[in-house]
C-alpha cells in the first residue's frame, strides 16, 4: 500500500517536473521576466498583439495581459497583485485619493465604441445620441419605433423587440458610452449617470467586450456596444452615429483617426483629462475612448520596473504600428509626449527606470 501511494506521489511529482525545472533552469539569467497586467478589454486585442510581438523584440521579457475589465484592472494594480493595470476610464480624483499607492496613467491607444447590432438582412443603421440612449434606457423598445424609422428612411426595420446587451463587469467601454449619453440625454444623466458600472435599466449583462460581441453575434435582434475591432473581427453590423456636425459617420479607422487627431493639444500637455467624445472634426466618429495603462509610480522590483518601462516605451512608439492593423487609432503626438513624460516619472528606490537617453 505504501509503495502504491509512493508511486502515486511520484507520478504527480513527475507531472510537476516540467514546471519546477523551468523555474530553476541552469542559468537563472535565461529565465524570462514575467510582467503581469490586467484590466480593460477594449484594447485587449492590441495589447495581446503587443505581447506576442514584444516577446520577439526582447526575448527576456514576457508580457502576460489578461482582459478582466477596467474596474478590475485598477483594483488589482492598487492591491499590488499585478504589475500594471489598464483602463479606458482614468481614475477619478476620489479614486486617486483613496488609492494606497501612487499610480501613473500612461495613454496607449485610442479605440472607438461602436453600436454593433444583429438584424438579419440589414447591415446599415443610423443612430443619434438621444435615440441610442433611449434604446439603452428602454424607452425605445422596438426596432420599428418611429424615432428609429425617422432616422432610417428607406430601411426596412423589423417589427420586433430590441434585445439590449450591456456589460456586467466594470468597464471603461461602459464609462465612455454612458458619459456620451449623459452629454446628450437629460433623462440618462439623471437616472443612470456615467461610470464604469452603471445600472442599465434594461437588457442582458455579459462579461467583457468579448462577451457582448459574442452575444450580439449569436442573437438576432440584439444591439450592444463594443470596441471597433471586436465588431469587425466578428463581422457584426455597426451603426452610423450622428456627430455634432450633423453627419452620420460610420465607425471606420479614418473617422476614428479624425477624432484622435482633434484631441485638444493643450489639455493633453497640461495633464488634464482628455475627452475624445464629440470631436469637432466633421468627419470624426463621435464616441472614441482613450485607453491607459496604469503603473505604480514606485516599482517594488527595479528589474521588473525597468522591463515594464521599456516595454511601454516600445508600445507607445513602435507598438503604434500594430494599432492601425487592428483598427485602433495611432496615439496623436501630444499624447505620445504625455506618455513619455509619464514614463519618465517612474521610479524604483528613487532611481529613474528609463535610461536617460531614450
Amino acid at each position: 500500500m505504501i509503495r502504491a501511494l509512493l508511486l502515486v506521489l511520484l507520478a504527480t511529482g513527475l507531472v510537476l517536473a516540467p514546471g519546477c525545472s523551468r523555474s530553476s533552469p541552469a542559468g537563472t539569467e535565461s529565465s524570462p521576466r514575467v510582467l503581469v497586467g490586467a484590466g480593460a478589454t477594449l484594447p485587449y486585442p492590441l495589447y495581446s498583439k503587443w505581447a506576442a510581438e514584444y516577446a520577439r523584440v526582447d526575448p527576456t521579457v514576457r508580457v502576460n495581459y489578461q482582459s478582466i475589465g477596467s474596474g478590475a484592472g485598477i483594483r488589482q494594480v492598487e492591491g499590488g497583485v499585478v504589475d500594471f493595470g489598464a483602463t479606458d476610464e482614468p481614475m477619478s480624483e476620489e479614486q486617486i485619493r483613496q488609492s494606497p499607492i501612487k499610480l501613473v496613467h500612461i495613454p496607449t491607444t485610442v479605440g472607438a465604441v461602436v453600436f454593433a447590432f444583429n438584424l438579419p438582412g440589414l447591415r446599415d443603421l443610423a443612430l443619434s445620441a438621444d435615440v441610442a440612449a433611449a434604446i439603452f434606457l428602454g424607452t425605445v423598445q422596438r426596432w420599428d419605433d418611429e424615432r428609429l424609422r425617422a432616422l432610417n428612411p428607406g430601411r426596412v426595420l423589423p417589427s420586433e423587440p430590441i434585445i439590449v446587451v450591456h456589460r456586467a463587469d466594470g468597464s471603461g467601454t461602459s464609462a465612455a458610452l454612458t458619459t456620451y449619453f449623459s452629454m446628450h440625454d437629460e433623462k440618462w444623466s439623471t437616472t443612470v449617470g456615467s461610470g464604469t458600472s452603471p445600472r442599465f435599466p434594461v437588457g442582458v449583462g455579459t462579461k467583457g467586450n468579448e462577451g457582448v460581441t459574442a452575444f450580439v453575434k449569436a442573437t438576432p435582434l440584439s444591439i450592444g456596444y463594443v470596441e471597433l475591432v471586436y465588431a469587425k473581427q466578428a463581422g457584426l453590423s455597426m451603426a452610423q452615429v450622428r456627430n455634432p456636425a450633423g453627419r452620420f459617420v460610420a465607425p471606420t479607422l479614418d473617422a476614428l483617426d479624425a477624432a484622435a487627431r482633434s484631441v485638444n493639444a493643450s489639455a493633453a500637455t497640461s495633464g488634464e483629462r482628455v475627452m475624445l467624445l464629440d470631436s469637432a472634426d466633421e468627419s470624426a466618429y463621435p464616441i472614441a475612448a482613450l485607453s491607459y495603462v496604469v503603473v505604480p509610480r514606485n516599482a517594488r522590483d527595479r528589474k521588473k520596473g525597468e522591463a515594464l518601462a521599456k516595454f511601454l516605451w516600445w508600445a507607445v512608439h513602435h507598438g503604434q504600428a500594430f494599432a492601425r492593423e487592428l483598427d485602433y487609432a495611432a496615439l496623436p503626438s501630444p499624447l505620445v509626449g504625455r506618455a513619455e513624460r509619464a514614463l519618465r516619472e517612474l521610479r524604483a528606490d528613487g532611481h529613474e527606470l528609463l535610461p536617460a537617453g531614450s
Binding site: G71, A72, R75, P161, D169, G170, R199, K207, F215, S222
Partner: protein, 339 residues
C-alpha cells in the same frame, strides 16, 4: 459497527505490550498518532480560516447595511446602493426549478438501477451516470452557452410562451440566456448527483426485505412502493438536499448563461444573477470597501445556506450509510455485488 475497546487512545497502552527485542514503538507510535491528529486538525483549521476570512471580509457590509442587505432589491455599487435580494432570488429560483426538473427523473433512474431496470442494462447505465457526475461544470457551461441557449431562444422559449404563456413565468424577452437556461443546465448537472446518491441509499435497504416481499408474492413495484421507498425516504431526501447544495454553489456553468443582471422579474426567460456568479464576476473589480464587503457578505450567506443544507443532508444520509456515500459508492467493492 462495534467500537473495539482497544481503539480509544486512553486504553491503548494496556493493549499493546511491547514484544521483547523490538525497538520502542511507543515513541514512533505516539508521534505518528500525533501526525495523524495534526493532519485531522488541519481540516478543522482550514474550515475555521475559511469561515473567519469570509466573515472578516463581510463585516463592514454587515455593520453598514444590516438586515436591509438581505431585503434590498437594488444592486448599484456605484451609488453604494447594495441589496442582495436579486441574487438570493436568482439562486433560489434556478436551484428550485432545477430540482423540480431533475428530482423525478433522477429518482426514476435510481430505481431503474436498483430495482426496476432490466439487469443487463443496469451496469452500463450506472457507469454512465457516474461518469457524468464527474464532468466538470465549466464543460456543462460550454455546452449550455453554445448549444442550449440558442436552442432555447429559437425553439423552446417561443413554444413555451405559445402554450403556457398565460403563466407570467413563461412570458418575456426570448433571449436564450437567462434564469431558464441556468436552471436547465443546473438540472442536467445535478441529475447524475442525485441519481447516484439515491441509488446508494436504495441499495442500502437490506436485500432480505426485498426478498421477503417478493416471496410473499409482491411485484417489484409493490416491493419498491411498500418496502424500499418507505425505508429509504430519509436518505433520498438527504440526496435531494445535497443536490440542492450543489446547485446553489455551482458558479461557472451558471455565470456563463444566467444573463448577469441583478433584477427580479417574474419571468423565467429574463436574465438574472445568482450569488455565486456575481462573486465570480464582480469580486476582482470591486473597488470600494463596501462593495467588496457586500460581495463577501453574499459569500457569507451562500456559505450559511450550503452549510445548513449540507448538515441537514448529511444527517439524513448518514442514518443510512456513511455520509460520504457519494464518493465511497464506487469505491466499496462489497456493495458492487448487490446489482
Amino acid at each position: 459497527m462495534n467500537e473495539p475497546a482497544a481503539l480509544t487512545p486512553s486504553s491503548r497502552s494496556t493493549h499493546a505490550p511491547r514484544p521483547l527485542g523490538e525497538p520502542s514503538h511507543a515513541l514512533v507510535d505516539r508521534s505518528l498518532v500525533a501526525l495523524g491528529g495534526g493532519a485531522a486538525c488541519i481540516l478543522v483549521v482550514v474550515l475555521a480560516v475559511v469561515a473567519a476570512v469570509v466573515l472578516d471580509l463581510a463585516l463592514p457590509s454587515v455593520r453598514a447595511l444590516g438586515f436591509g442587505f438581505v431585503t434590498g432589491r437594488q444592486w448599484d455599487p456605484v451609488h453604494g446602493d447594495l441589496g442582495a435580494l436579486p441574487f438570493l432570488y436568482g439562486t433560489v429560483v434556478t436551484s428550485l426549478v432545477a430540482l423540480t426538473l431533475a428530482v423525478p427523473v433522477a429518482l426514476g433512474v435510481a430505481l431503474f438501477l436498483t430495482d426496476l431496470g432490466p439487469l443487463p442494462l443496469r451496469r452500463p447505465v450506472a457507469a454512465l451516470v457516474e461518469l457524468l457526475a464527474a464532468v466538470p461544470g465549466v464543460v456543462y457551461g460550454l455546452w449550455a452557452a453554445i448549444v442550449l441557449a440558442p436552442l432555447l431562444r429559437t425553439t423552446v422559449e417561443p413554444a413555451l410562451e405559445a402554450h403556457l404563456g398565460f403563466l407570467p413565468m413563461f412570458r418575456g424577452p426570448k433571449v436564450g440566456v437567462g434564469l431558464l437556461c441556468a436552471s436547465l443546465v443546473l438540472a442536467v448537472m445535478i441529475l447524475p448527483t442525485i441519481a447516484s446518491l439515491s441509488r446508494e441509499v436504495l441499495r442500502a435497504v437490506p436485500i432480505e426485505l426485498r426478498e421477503g416481499g417478493l416471496a410473499l408474492g409482491a411485484t417489484r413495484w409493490d416491493v419498491v412502493r411498500r418496502i424500499v421507498l418507505p425505508h429509504a425516504k430519509q436518505g433520498i431526501f438527504g440526496a435531494i438536499l445535497l443536490g440542492f447544495g450543489r446547485a446553489v454553489g455551482e458558479t461557472m456553468a451558471v455565470a456563463m448563461v444566467v444573463g448577469s443582471r441583478a433584477d427580479i422579474t417574474g419571468s423565467l426567460f429574463s436574465p438574472g444573477y445568482t450569488m455565486s456568479s456575481v462573486m465570480a464576476n464582480e469580486l476582482p473589480e470591486a473597488t470600494s470597501t463596501l462593495h467588496v464587503a457586500a460581495l463577501a457578505e453574499i459569500g457569507l450567506l451562500l456559505f450559511a445556506i450550503t452549510f445548513a443544507f449540507n448538515v441537514a443532508a448529511r444527517l439524513l444520509v448518514s442514518r443510512v450509510r456513511g455520509p460520504e456515500a457519494a464518493l465511497v459508492r464506487v469505491v466499496t467493492p462489497r456493495l458492487e455485488e448487490h446489482t
